[in-house]
């Protein structure tokens, strides 16, 4: 008897979702077997975004490979290059200057902020809380603007290089980093309070997508998914690297083991990121920001890891002594968190599927919104005021005049 015949006899329905994701702008396919509204079985099919990055690195030199690695992910690009550079530096025996470690740390924590803010917005949208979605994405712009000023780009900042960083932080920019931290802290405390008291949000997120501590170990889940099950899994603490050898991280854990727990962990981690950024900006030492790396690596292999916003990121390089890697392997944190996805979905309602999937914060590539052209005087960067003016124009064209609505300046 075929699966279809068995399902028909048992009154089961298979709902294919995808390959376009039910909520996020990424390709992924899910075959959900339903018993009424309840998910009985879920088969996850991914791989639509496979781009052959590892093969591409093998046929290019190390400098070219770094540019490819930066594009593994549009959200945590800095985490990937930090890990790849760390692996290279480990093999080359390079001593990275302290100031470079601090700059890597500041950019890394800014990246964690924008990644978690993006996630909080997506999660809010999934549960129909679009006001919070708009608030968090507005706040995220502050961080993206800072990152654009540091590296010249909103998502692939190009800050890292072998032996250090390519961009220094001027005192004026660091003042602005602190100013944004002050603004964001106020907002984040409000969101944390909201997450802990708003009954609709709690009712919608609590008790769904459960992954118990034993399941976290079984499926090797990482990052906020593991920490929301009470497991202290943070590479910045268990294997401190770079600036985290000097500055201690207070890891955030929670024991809800569900989507609500993952929300609380991420919101609290943003407050911790702000604390870390303030310390790093205050204690950043003077000195060089990079040392000259070798063009070729000695024969050998190295395995390195960093704590990306989504969890443990592992990179591997094998060198045969040439100027190009013999083998590159990237294990992004999302790859680790997919293993437990079927288990997280089974037993819950069909309506919970999008938010359960989104709760692992699966990685997708996002693109630049605008480009700032240097040199010819043409500015294509659309700022907040221009976006607002454009939206008002658009509404007026539809016969609605939102001009009379007073919006508080942020």
């Amino acid at each position: 008897m075929s699966d279809r015949e068995k399902n028909e006899r048992n009154h089961k329905v298979v709902v294919p979702i995808g390959p376009q994701h039910p909520s996020l702008k990424e390709p992924g396919s899910f075959k959900i077997t339903l018993d009424g509204e309840k998910v009985e079985r879920a088969v996850v099919e991914i791989g639509y975004n496979h781009r052959g990055i590892e093969k591409a690195c093998e046929s290019r030199n190390y400098i070219q490979a770094l540019y490819i690695i930066e594009r593994v992910c549009g959200i945590c690009s800095h985490a990937h290059t930090s890990c790849f550079c760390q692996t290279f530096e480990d093999l080359a025996g390079l001593e990275v200057p302290r100031r470079a470690h601090y700059i890597r740390g500041i950019v890394g924590e800014l990246e964690r902020l924008h990644s978690h803010l993006l996630w909080l917005g997506v999660a809010s949208h999934e549960i129909g809380f679009d006001t919070l979605f708009m608030y968090t994405w507005r706040d995220r712009e502050l961080v993206l603007d800072l990152l654009a000023r540091i590296g010249g780009n909103r998502v692939n900042y190009g800050v890292n290089t072998y032996g250090g960083v390519r961009r220094d932080l001027e005192p004026e920019l660091m003042e602005d980093v602190l100013h944004v931290c002050d603004l964001l802290e106020e907002k984040l405390k409000y969101y944390a309070d909201l997450a802990m008291t708003e009954s609709t949000l709690i009712a919608r997120l609590k008790g769904i997508g459960v992954l118990l501590p034993e399941d976290v170990k079984k499926y090797s889940a990482v990052g906020p998914v593991a920490r929301a099950a009470g497991i202290m899994d943070d590479i910045r603490v268990t294997e401190p690297y770079g600036v985290f050898r000097e500055i201690a991280v207070n890891p955030v854990t929670d024991d809800h083991c569900d989507v609500y727990g993952r929300t609380l962990v991420r919101v609290k981690e943003m407050l911790e990121a702000i604390r870390l950024i303030r310390i790093m900006v205050k204690e950043i030492p003077d000195g060089p920001i990079s040392v000259r790396p070798p063009r070729k690596l000695p024969v050998g292999e190295a395995l390195s890891r960093v704590e990306a916003p989504r969890g443990e990121d592992i990179h591997y390089i094998r060198s045969t002594g040439a100027d190009a890697p013999d083998r590159v392997r990237v294990r992004a944190p999302s790859e680790a968190n997919w293993h437990g996805m079927s288990h997280m979905l089974e037993g819950f309602q069909l309506a919970d599927v999008p938010i359960i999937i989104a709760a692992i914060d699966p990685c997708y590539s996002c693109t630049d919104r605008a480009i700032h052209l240097i040199g010819d005087g043409v500015n294509q960067l659309t700022d907040w005021a221009q976006i607002r003016a454009l939206s008002i124009e658009q509404y007026k064209a539809r016969g609605i005049d939102p001009g009379s609505i007073k919006i508080r300046e942020f």
Binding site: V43, E45, H50, K55, R331
Partner: protein, 164 residues
């Protein structure tokens, strides 16, 4: 179990693995046969407490395919256990029962290196598309992306007379 204790236990029970550490939380071993590897993997899981399957790295070793399994324990030590199989008969057994988190990586070995993994649970292929040509394994060194036609999804290496 920390790095030193693990190395001691491994070298005592499996001296052929030549377990060494070049980093406080890393243990590397040499390539071994599938039978010896499986024994060591079970020992690492059941006796040494390496219950987390982190990662699998396939490598092209010329006439062989190298497979490195990266495991971890509660102390977050990364243990790399390895096996080597000939390209002509790349057959291994799935470790998915011991490590469900490695199933996806084993599917990668099937698609990208052409390793035949017996005992893999039913499920979709990963990560190549369904239309990918049979017998083409892109992470083998002899596979050249220049000969891959993206329009027709076919691999078209030059014929011997053309190369001459």
């Amino acid at each position: 179990m920390n790095t030193e204790e693990t190395i001691l236990a491994l070298n005592q029970h499996f001296p052929a693995l030549e377990a060494v550490s070049n980093h406080p939380l890393r243990i590397f071993t040499v390539f071994t046969t599938p039978a010896a590897f499986e024994e060591a993997l079970h020992f690492a899981n059941l006796t040494l407490g390496y219950h987390k399957g982190k990662h699998i790295i396939g490598t092209d070793e010329g006439a062989d395919i190298g497979i490195s399994y990266i495991l971890s324990n509660d102390e977050d030590v990364l243990l790399v256990l390895r096996e080597r199989v000939p390209k002509s008969a790349p057959n291994v057994r799935s470790m998915g029962e011991l490590y469900p988190s490695l199933v996806l990586h084993e599917r990668e070995l099937v698609d990208l290196f052409g390793v035949q993994v017996s005992g893999l649970p039913e499920g979709p292929r990963y990560p190549l598309p369904d239309c990918w040509p049979e017998g083409e394994y892109p992470l083998r060194k002899e596979w050249n992306p220049a000969y891959f036609n993206k329009q027709t999804v076919t691999y078209e290496p030059p014929k011997e007379e053309d190369a001459k």
